[in-house]
C-alpha cells in the first residue's frame, strides 16, 4: 500500500509537475540565459517583483484574519441562521475569475451600481488597494474552508470549556487554546493564499494595469501577448521560472520546517460546537457578517447580473433597459457542448485530485513527503498560461488538441488546492486507531475506511469542491490547449470577451453559476429531507 502510494505520487508528480517545469527551465536556459542579466536589471522587473510580494502579503494579511474570524463565528450553534450563513460565506467562490475584476468595477467604480443607486463611488477600487481587497475577499472562502476543516478535526471544546470554567475570558480562551490548536490550519491557509496571490493574474490585469500596477504575472502576460517575437516568448518563460525559484526559496524552508513544528497528535472528538458569547453578541456578529457579505459578494454578483440583463454597458439597469438577448446569445448548442465538456473535465480533475491530495497528505508526515508538497505548490504559483506552455512543450507532440492535455494542466495547477485542506486535517488521524483496527483483524482498507476517512470527510469534500469550481472557471490554460473537438467554456468566454461583449460574458458567468448552484441546492434539499 505504501509502495503503491509512493509510485502513484512520484509518477503523477513527474508527469504533471516535473516534466512541464523542466521544459520551461530548459527553454529559458537554452534560449534565454544570454538575456538573463538584462532581464533581471530592468527597472520594470524589480517593480513587478516588489508589487507581487506586496500584493501577496497584503492579501494574506487581510484574508487570513477575516477567514479565521468567520470560521470561529460560524462555529457557534446558537448563531441565528447558521446553516444559511455557512453557505452564504462561500458566495464569492461562485464569481468566476474572468469576470471578478469587472464585477467589482461595475459595482463600485464610476458609473457603477452603487453610483447609480446611492451616488457612492469608491475610487480606490481602480488601483492597488482595489486589487488587494478584491484578491483578499475572493480568498476568504478558501481560508474559511481550511479553518473550518481545522476546527472539525482539531477543536477541543472540552479544553476550551475547561479554560472558560476556570475563569478565562473568551479572548484568553481564543488566544491560549483555540488559535494554537488551529495553528497548522492557519499556516496552511496563509501559505495557500500567499502562493495563490503570487500567481494571480485576472484582477491585477483588469484593475492593476490601468493604475500602472504591474506584477510578475501581468508582465508574463504582456510578454506572451507580444510572443510572435521569439525573444519575448523566452522572456515570459524566464519570468515564470524566476517566479518558481522565488517561491521555492521563500516557501520551501518555511513549509518543510513549519510542517514538522506544527504537526500535532491528538485524539479526535465528536463534540465540535462551541457556544460562546451572549445572544446580543451573536446578533451583532450576524449583522457584521451580513454587511460584509453584502459588500463583498452580493453587490458584485448583483452587478454581474445587472450587466447580464441590461442591453448595453453604461445605461441604467432599469426594467426599460432589461433584455434576454445576452442569454439568448449564450444559450447555443456550441455553448452547451463546451459547458458540458468543462463540467466533465472539472469533475474528472477534481476526483483525480482528491485521490492525489489524499496520498500527498498521507505521505506528508515524512521528509520526502514534505518536499513533494513544496514541489506541487510550484505549479500553483505559475500563471495558467505558463503551465499550459509547459504542458505543450512537454506533451504537445502527442497530446496537443486533446482534452487529456487540458486535464494534465488542471492537475498540475490545482494539486495543491486539493492537498492543503486535507493535509491541514490529516495529522489528526490517530495512528493508534489504525493499529488497533489492524490488530483487531480489520484489513488495511477497512481500517482506513472506518478510522481515517470519517475524520477526513469534511476536508475531502472541501478539497473536491474547491478543485471542481476552480477547474470549471478556468480560462487561460484551456484556451491555449484546446483543439477541434475539445473546446471548453473558456473558448466561448474569450470569444465574447474579444468581441467586447461584456453583457454576454456576464450572462455566461451567470449561466455557469446557475449550473453549479442549482444542483448544489437541490442536493442540499434532498439530503435535508432524507435526514428529516
Amino acid at each position: 500500500m505504501v509502495w503503491a502510494s509512493w509510485s502513484v505520487l512520484v509518477a503523477s508528480a513527474a508527469i504533471v509537475v516535473i516534466v512541464p517545469l523542466i521544459m520551461l527551465i530548459r527553454t529559458s536556459w537554452v534560449e534565454g540565459r544570454a538575456r538573463l542579466a538584462e532581464l533581471l536589471t530592468e527597472p520594470g522587473f524589480r517593480t513587478a517583483i516588489v508589487h507581487s510580494f506586496e500584493l501577496s502579503a497584503a492579501a494574506t494579511a487581510l484574508a487570513v484574519p477575516i477567514g479565521v474570524a468567520i470560521a470561529l463565528t460560524l462555529r457557534d450553534p446558537r448563531l441565528p441562521g447558521r446553516a444559511f450563513w455557512r453557505a452564504a460565506v462561500l458566495l464569492p467562490l461562485l464569481v468566476p475569475d474572468f469576470v471578478l475584476g469587472y464585477s467589482w468595477l461595475r459595482a463600485y467604480a464610476r458609473g457603477g451600481l452603487t453610483s447609480e443607486i446611492f451616488g457612492f463611488v469608491w475610487s480606490g477600487v481602480q488601483g492597488p488597494v482595489g486589487v488587494a481587497v478584491i484578491v483578499a475577499v475572493s480568498a476568504v472562502p478558501l481560508v474559511y474552508l481550511i479553518i473550518t476543516v481545522g476546527l472539525v478535526t482539531r477543536a477541543e471544546p472540552i479544553t476550551e470549556r475547561a479554560a472558560h470554567a476556570s475563569g478565562a475570558a473568551a479572548i484568553t480562551v481564543l488566544r491560549t487554546v483555540t488559535v494554537p490548536l488551529l495553528a497548522p490550519a492557519i499556516a496552511t491557509s496563509a501559505v495557500v493564499i500567499f502562493v495563490l496571490t503570487l500567481g494571480t493574474f485576472a484582477v491585477p490585469q483588469v484593475i492593476g494595469t490601468p493604475a500602472g500596477f504591474s506584477t510578475i504575472t501581468t508582465r508574463i502576460y504582456s510578454d506572451l501577448s507580444y510572443g510572435s517575437d521569439p525573444q519575448t516568448f523566452v522572456d515570459a518563460t524566464t519570468l515564470a521560472v524566476l517566479l518558481v525559484i522565488i517561491t521555492l526559496v521563500v516557501l520551501g524552508p518555511a513549509d518543510v520546517l513549519l510542517g514538522v513544528r506544527l504537526q500535532q497528535r491528538r485524539t479526535s472528538t465528536a463534540d465540535l460546537d462551541w457556544p460562546s458569547g451572549t445572544r446580543l453578541a451573536s446578533t451583532l456578529k450576524v449583522l457584521i457578517l451580513a454587511s460584509y457579505l453584502i459588500a463583498t459578494a452580493c453587490l458584485p454578483l448583483l452587478a454581474l447580473l445587472s450587466a447580464a440583463i441590461t442591453r448595453a454597458v453604461g445605461i441604467p439597469s432599469t426594467p426599460a433597459n432589461w433584455t434576454w438577448d445576452n442569454f439568448a446569445e449564450v444559450l447555443t448548442p456550441r455553448t452547451g457542448a463546451a459547458l458540458g465538456r468543462s463540467i466533465v473535465l472539472a469533475l474528472t480533475a477534481a476526483s483525480i485530485l482528491l485521490v492525489l491530495g489524499l496520498i500527498t497528505a498521507a505521505v506528508g508526515r515524512t521528509r520526502p513527503g514534505r518536499w513533494v508538497s513544496v514541489l506541487i505548490t510550484l505549479t500553483l504559483v505559475l500563471p495558467g498560461s505558463t503551465v499550459a506552455i509547459g504542458m505543450l512543450l512537454g506533451y504537445g507532440r502527442w497530446l496537443a488538441d486533446t482534452v487529456v492535455i487540458i486535464l494534465l494542466a488542471y492537475l498540475a495547477k490545482l494539486w495543491t488546492l486539493a492537498h492543503r485542506p486535507i493535509s491541514a486535517a490529516v495529522d489528526r488521524v490517530p495512528p493508534e486507531g489504525l493499529r488497533a483496527a489492524r490488530v483487531s483483524g480489520a484489513t488495511l482498507t477497512t481500517g482506513l475506511g472506518t478510522v481515517a476517512l470519517p475524520l477526513l470527510r469534511v476536508a475531502m469534500i472541501t478539497a473536491w469542491a474547491l478543485c471542481f469550481l476552480t477547474a470549471l472557471h478556468e480560462v487561460t490554460m484551456s484556451s491555449l490547449l484546446y483543439g477541434p473537438g475539445s473546446e471548453t467554456l473558456a473558448v466561448v468566454v474569450l470569444n465574447s470577451a474579444d468581441l467586447g461583449r461584456v453583457g454576454v460574458t456576464a450572462a455566461l458567468s451567470v449561466l455557469v453559476t446557475a449550473v453549479v448552484v442549482l444542483p448544489a441546492v437541490a442536493l442540499w434539499a434532498l439530503t435535508r429531507r432524507a435526514r428529516a
Binding site: S228, F233, G314, A388, I389, G396, D498
Partner: protein
C-alpha cells in the same frame, strides 16, 4: 477498497471517454487543414462554413484565440514538433512578419486585386482594423487626434498587448502619448477594455477599434464614435500558408477563397472590414480618411519604440 477501486475505474473510464471523444476526424487528413487565427468567431465561423460549402468534402479545423495565446501556441508548437497550422490568419502584419522571419509561413500569395499596400510576397491582408476615437456622450468628440488629450480622462490600449495599439503608437509617435499621459491618460489592456471603460463612464474618451466602438454604440451604450483627422489608423490582418503544410493545395485554395470576391464579401458581411476594393463592409462614415504606419520600418524599430513608450506608461 472496492469503493476506492470503483472510483479509480470510473476515472479511467472517464479518461478514456474524454480521450476518445476528442478524436473526430470527419474529413480524412488529406482533405482537412488547420487554421490558427485571432479573428473572432463572428467572422471566422461563417467564412469557414462558406468555404466548406463551396469545397465539398473538405474540412477546416479551427484554433481561435486572442493574439497573445495564439503567439504562445505557435511558439510552443515550434518547440514541440513544429507548427501544427496549415494556414495562419493574423490580426496584424507585425505578428505575421515575425512568423515569416522564423521561417514558419510565407513564400506564396494568390493572384488578387487586393492593393499592394497590404501585401508582401509572403502574406496578404484580407481584413482591416481601424483605430478610431470613442467618447462618452456629452463629451466633445475630437475632430483631430491631437485634441484627444483635451476630452477628459482618456484611456489607451497597451501596444504590447494589442497590435492595433502598436500600429497607432508607430503612427503617432511617443510625444503624442507623453502629452496624453501628462493630461491624466491611463493605459488599459485591450481596445475592448477602452470601449467598455468609456461606455461605463470610467473614462471620458479613448482610442479603440471601430468594430468594438460601433458594436457598443449600436447596443445603446452612451458613446460616440469618431474618425479624427488625419484619419483612423488602419491595421491589416494578413493570411499566410505554412511552409511545412502537408496539404498545400487545400491551404492555398482556402487562402485564395479568402482573397476572392466571394470570400471578401463573406468577411464584409460578417462584421470585418474587407480589403478588396468595392466590397461592402461594416459601418464607415462617408469620406472617412485612413492613415497607415510604415510597417516595414516598424518591424525593425518596434523594440526601441516600445522601450521609449515604456518610459511614459510604465513598464
Amino acid at each position: 477498497m472496492s469503493r476506492g477501486r470503483g472510483g479509480i475505474t470510473a476515472f479511467a473510464v472517464a479518461l478514456v471517454l474524454l480521450a476518445t471523444g476528442c478524436s473526430q476526424p470527419e474529413a480524412s487528413r488529406a482533405e482537412s487543414i488547420t487554421l490558427y487565427t485571432c479573428v473572432n468567431d463572428t467572422t471566422v465561423q461563417p467564412v469557414i462554413a462558406a468555404f466548406k460549402a463551396a469545397h465539398q468534402g473538405t474540412d477546416v479545423q479551427l484554433f481561435r484565440a486572442p493574439t497573445g495565446q495564439l503567439d504562445a501556441r505557435v511558439a510552443s508548437d515550434v518547440r514541440s514538433g513544429g507548427l501544427k497550422a496549415d494556414v495562419i490568419w493574423a490580426c496584424d502584419p507585425l505578428t505575421m512578419q515575425d512568423f515569416v522571419t522564423q521561417g514558419l509561413v510565407g513564400g506564396w500569395t494568390p493572384q488578387t486585386e487586393i492593393p499592394e499596400a497590404v501585401r508582401t510576397p509572403d502574406y496578404i491582408g484580407i481584413a482591416m482594423l481601424y483605430m478610431v476615437a470613442i467618447t462618452r456622450k456629452g463629451k466633445p468628440a475630437p475632430a483631430n487626434w491631437k485634441d484627444l488629450a483635451d476630452t477628459g480622462k482618456v484611456a489607451v490600449p497597451d501596444p504590447k498587448v494589442a497590435a492595433s495599439a502598436l500600429g497607432a503608437l508607430a503612427y503617432f509617435g511617443t510625444d503624442f502619448y507623453a502629452d496624453l499621459k501628462s493630461k491624466g491618460a491611463v493605459q488599459v489592456s485591450t481596445p475592448d477594455d477602452v470601449t467598455t471603460g468609456v461606455a461605463q463612464g470610467l473614462y471620458d474618451a479613448g482610442m479603440t477599434i471601430a468594430n468594438s466602438a460601433y458594436a457598443a454604440a449600436k447596443s445603446g451604450s452612451p458613446v460616440t464614435v469618431s474618425w479624427p483627422k488625419p484619419g483612423a489608423v488602419a491595421i491589416y490582418g494578413p493570411v499566410a500558408v505554412s511552409k511545412t503544410t502537408e496539404n498545400r493545395q487545400l491551404a492555398q485554395d482556402f487562402v485564395t477563397y479568402l482573397t476572392s470576391s466571394d470570400g471578401q464579401t463573406m468577411i464584409g458581411s460578417s462584421g470585418s472590414y474587407p480589403t478588396l476594393p468595392g466590397v461592402a463592409g461594416p459601418t464607415k462614415p462617408a469620406n472617412s480618411a485612413t492613415v497607415q504606419p510604415d510597417w516595414q520600418v516598424l518591424a525593425s524599430e518596434k523594440a526601441a519604440l516600445l522601450k521609449d513608450y515604456a518610459t511614459i506608461f510604465g513598464a
